[in-house]
């Protein structure tokens, strides 16, 4: 692989080495104080704004607290959890989320890698092409959702207009159960394909040229080169991008909120969106907290996977 900064190796040797022992010891003590002074403010903010709220949510998840009813919270222990895990409603949302995450991430990966591969084979205009392709990724999900809501409109939307002039039928994109979820997957793919493309391109440009040259001398076919050189070398990095996208897609809320608000019916209600409904429309704070904690557990598992692969990549 190419150079990557050592992120996780400790360098005890880095701490003031070329000093005589006596001042060295006091300096090391000073260093420790300095480290604590420099790190704690950031950690305190994280504890206050991330860890504490999550612990609070954990506490609430064992109670029947409701944000509107007020009054003291009664402990119901694991009732919320059993209610959620056995609820067919939640099972349906989990399935919707799974279809959406798998569909969107697969599409993005295939498309993103294909575009990166095509760009990496050009000699001219590479930078410009990359820049153009990256535009969707930089936009706020709000803007993206609104754009597409307008374009997918069944009556005056430009997509149906184009389909019509090509002689194809009109599609009720956002108002039919089946096409609504497909639309959501398509919009997410449009926005995040550039992300995979960017990472894949970083991997592709890092593949040493001499490997291809050696293969060419051996008269290896393009497909052989791709299978034995390109893919194995880019794959570790691509896997990280895929996991990253999976975590993000699992968390997704804003695009659903703007594009379909979970409808029609509940066909595009992802788990994230359902939590919001339970918490802010149903005001079952306790249940919503338990729901949230379960989601956090899934995210933690995914994040652990992600970090493990990241470590492996860095150690290569």
């Amino acid at each position: 692989m190419s150079y990557s900064a050592p992120l996780t190796t400790d360098h005890p040797g880095q701490v003031a080495s070329a000093t005589p022992p006596a001042p060295g010891r006091s300096r090391r003590l000073g260093d420790r104080r300095l480290a604590v002074a420099f790190i704690s403010p950031a950690l305190l903010l994280l504890l206050a704004m991330s860890v504490f709220p999550l612990l609070w949510a954990l506490y609430l998840s064992f109670t029947d607290y409701s944000a509107t009813r007020g009054g003291p919270a009664e402990f119901v222990w694991f009732e919320n959890y059993t209610a959620i895990l056995t609820s067919p409603q939640v099972h349906l949302r989990a399935l919707t989320t799974l279809i959406y995450v798998v569909g969107a991430v697969t599409l993005q990966t295939v498309l993103g890698f294909a575009i990166a591969y095509l760009i990496s084979r050009r000699t001219h205009g590479r930078g410009l092409l990359t820049t153009l392709f990256l535009v969707p990724m930089m936009l706020s999900p709000v803007v993206v959702g609104l754009f597409w809501r307008f374009m997918l409109d069944a009556q005056f939307g430009v997509i149906n207009s184009v389909l019509g002039s090509l002689g194809l039928g009109q599609v009720e994109w956002l108002t039919r159960q089946r096409t609504a979820l497909i639309s959501l997957i398509l919009v997410d793919t449009w926005q995040w394909t550039p992300f995979i493309m960017l990472i894949a391109l970083a991997g592709l440009t890092a593949v040493p040229k001499y490997l291809y040259e050696a293969a060419s001398i051996d008269r290896a076919s393009e497909w052989f080169k791709f299978r034995t050189i390109t893919l194995p070398l880019v794959w570790p990095l691509l896997l990280i991008a895929v996991l990253f996208r999976a975590i993000e897609a699992f968390r997704l809320f804003d695009l659903v909120y703007i594009l379909t608000s979970g409808g029609p019916g509940v066909s595009t209600e992802t788990l994230s969106f359902h939590v919001y409904k339970v918490a802010f429309l149903g005001f079952n704070t306790g249940t919503a907290s338990a729901y949230g904690i379960l989601m956090v557990l899934v995210v933690i598992v995914l994040t652990q996977l992600y970090l493990r692969y990241l470590n492996k990549l860095k150690e290569d």
Binding site: V15, F38, A67, S140, W190
Partner: protein, 303 residues
């Protein structure tokens, strides 16, 4: 924009490292690749161009069936409506843009001031369980906002931070600190520790050495990191919509989303507001294009 795609595509003969004796090699293949790329680029960019077009169309052209691609009169009225209220004076949208500037700016400054020293300390010193600490810090960034917002909402209700800019600033800073630490740690790792050691041999303290020798070298990295934090905060929607409600606190994303609440939607205005909102982000993203891979992976992947 569309012009530049043509430029990119009309390149000379592409380099091919296939020997001439290939069945399907060289020119035919490279023409096919260019064609594919062109189609993909058009598909990817079309929505953006369509939004820009919609923002400068008159209303009757916006809703024209079939859609009008080229033959329409250009008007700037929608952009005027973004900034000026119908009865004169400032529009609520322009107030929300100002709020976004304040919230994104202050939260970025806070995240930078807290994150940069921490990143330096993690890079230079042997901290206990450093790996675990760094992992923990990054995992806070992966929390689903919808879940975090429930306890934050209750917490803010207790301390009176609901519907305040300060409340948003704090939560955005908390979400940007992990990113700042990871991103900056990479930059600090690239500056040799020997500079500080040498300075300390000359009689400077560790802190002075950091301040006078390392920090100046980190400035470009700090700028890039800050720009990414700025983009995250600028685009953020979930916390903004749940934690703010009044017009003079609301940031731009929920304000723009609010434009589609009524029975009729002024899509021209939505398009113009979106264009105004997206422009600074695109400019900023272009400025930090060198660090894009590190930026979008929260500083985890560096190439």
């Amino acid at each position: 924009m569309a012009l530049s795609v043509d430029e990119a595509v009309s390149t000379g003969p592409a380099r091919d490292h296939t020997p001439p004796a290939r069945r399907f090699g060289g020119r035919g293949r490279s023409v096919l690749e260019v064609a594919l790329l062109t189609v993909l680029a058009v598909v990817m960019l079309f929505p953006v161009l369509w939004m820009i077009e919609t923002s400068i169309k008159e209303n009757r052209d916006v809703y024209a069936i079939p859609a009008k691609f080229f033959d329409f009169k250009v008007t700037m009225d929608h952009f005027k409506d973004v900034f000026v209220a119908s009865g004169g004076g400032r529009s609520t949208l322009s107030v929300s843009f100002l709020n976004s500037v304040v919230v994104a700016g202050v939260s970025t400054a806070l995240a930078t001031v807290l994150g940069v020293p921490a990143a330096w300390a993690y890079s230079r010193f042997a901290v206990k369980a450093k790996k675990d600490q760094l992992f923990f810090i990054l995992s806070t960034r992966f929390m689903p906002p919808v879940v975090v917002v429930i306890p934050i909402f209750l917490m803010y209700r207790q301390v009176g931070l609901i519907d305040t800019k300060l409340g948003l600033i704090l939560i955005y800073a908390a979400f940007n600190v992990p990113f700042t630490i990871w991103m900056m740690k990479g930059f600090v790792d690239e500056v040799p520790a020997e500079y500080e050691d040498a300075a300390m041999l000359d009689g400077y303290t560790r802190l002075q050495a950091f301040w006078r020798f390392t920090l100046p070298l980190l400035l470009p990295g700090i700028a890039a990191t800050a720009v990414f934090a700025l983009i995250f905060s600028w685009n953020e929607f979930v916390f903004a919509i749940f934690l703010t409600s009044s017009d003079n606190v609301r940031t731009a994303p929920p304000a723009i989303a609010g434009l589609i609440g009524g029975t009729t939607v002024d899509w021209g205005l939505v398009a113009a507001a979106s264009v105004v909102f997206a422009l600074p982000v695109l400019v900023f993203a272009y400025l930090v294009r060198k660090h894009l891979v590190a930026g979008v992976t929260l500083g985890a992947v560096r190439r």
